[in-house]
Symmetry: C2
Subunit: 138 residues, 2 copies
């Protein structure tokens, strides 16, 4: 009997997708969250770079295809329910020694808004823009 | 004009949910992925402990309510699209100095399966069971 294909072990949701967390291997920072379908995950494995499924554009999205900010995938993890992926990545595209830019706003991480208590509770941007998005997406 | 409520700034999905990544503050380990609805997030903020929405049981789920493995929430982050949350947590319930158990299998993290190249590609469990689930859920 042929063993179950590694792609078949994943519990794809009703839309054929799985949530994906991208964590920078060097810093441990969670930099992004996106989705993959079967083709995206297969391509990620072949290429060694993150390829997501863009739900808004309804097509495969090789991260960095426009910005140059590709993600080298070092390791892929699957959770206990077989329905969430965690990628250990290097965020490429910046000069060595400077933080990679994962976010389309030009920030290191997409998770740059922190819940803060001021007059009331509010989400505050707490990470700097490292590069003008206008310079990233020409 | 009254400022927008922090809960209203979140783009809840069609089911009124938002994906949530739980990251251990001390180690940086991503230990869990779950979902919250508006009530779960409000309760999490009030309590300072993670309260998720259990999709399978269709009810609020105060993480650790059965196991004692609660999660103290130190910080909440929202992503650039306002539709994914990242929590910085301490995973409670174990003796000081020993790794917390976030996973219902008795492991530190839910992401314990790694894609490995052997005869073929396969997901392999690479993290130890720290406590027998039979001892956790009595």
């Amino acid at each position: 009997m042929r063993p179950m294909n590694w792609l078949d072990q994943i519990k794809w949701d009703a839309d054929g997708l799985v949530p994906v967390i991208a964590q920078e291997q060097s810093s441990g920072d969670v930099v992004m969250f996106a989705w993959m379908n079967r083709a995206a995950l297969a391509r990620t494995q072949e290429l060694g770079e993150a390829v997501y499924w863009s739900r808004s554009r309804a097509k495969l999205w090789h991260k960095g295809e426009e910005s140059g900010h590709t993600q080298t995938v070092h390791e892929m993890r699957l959770d206990c329910d077989n329905d969430v992926l965690l990628l250990k990545i290097t965020q490429n595209g910046q000069s060595p020694g400077t933080p990679g830019i994962a976010c389309h706003t030009g920030r290191h991480s997409c998770f740059y808004q922190r819940l803060e208590q001021g007059d009331g509770l509010d989400w505050q941007a707490v990470e700097p823009v490292l590069k003008d998005p206008g310079q990233i997406y020409k």
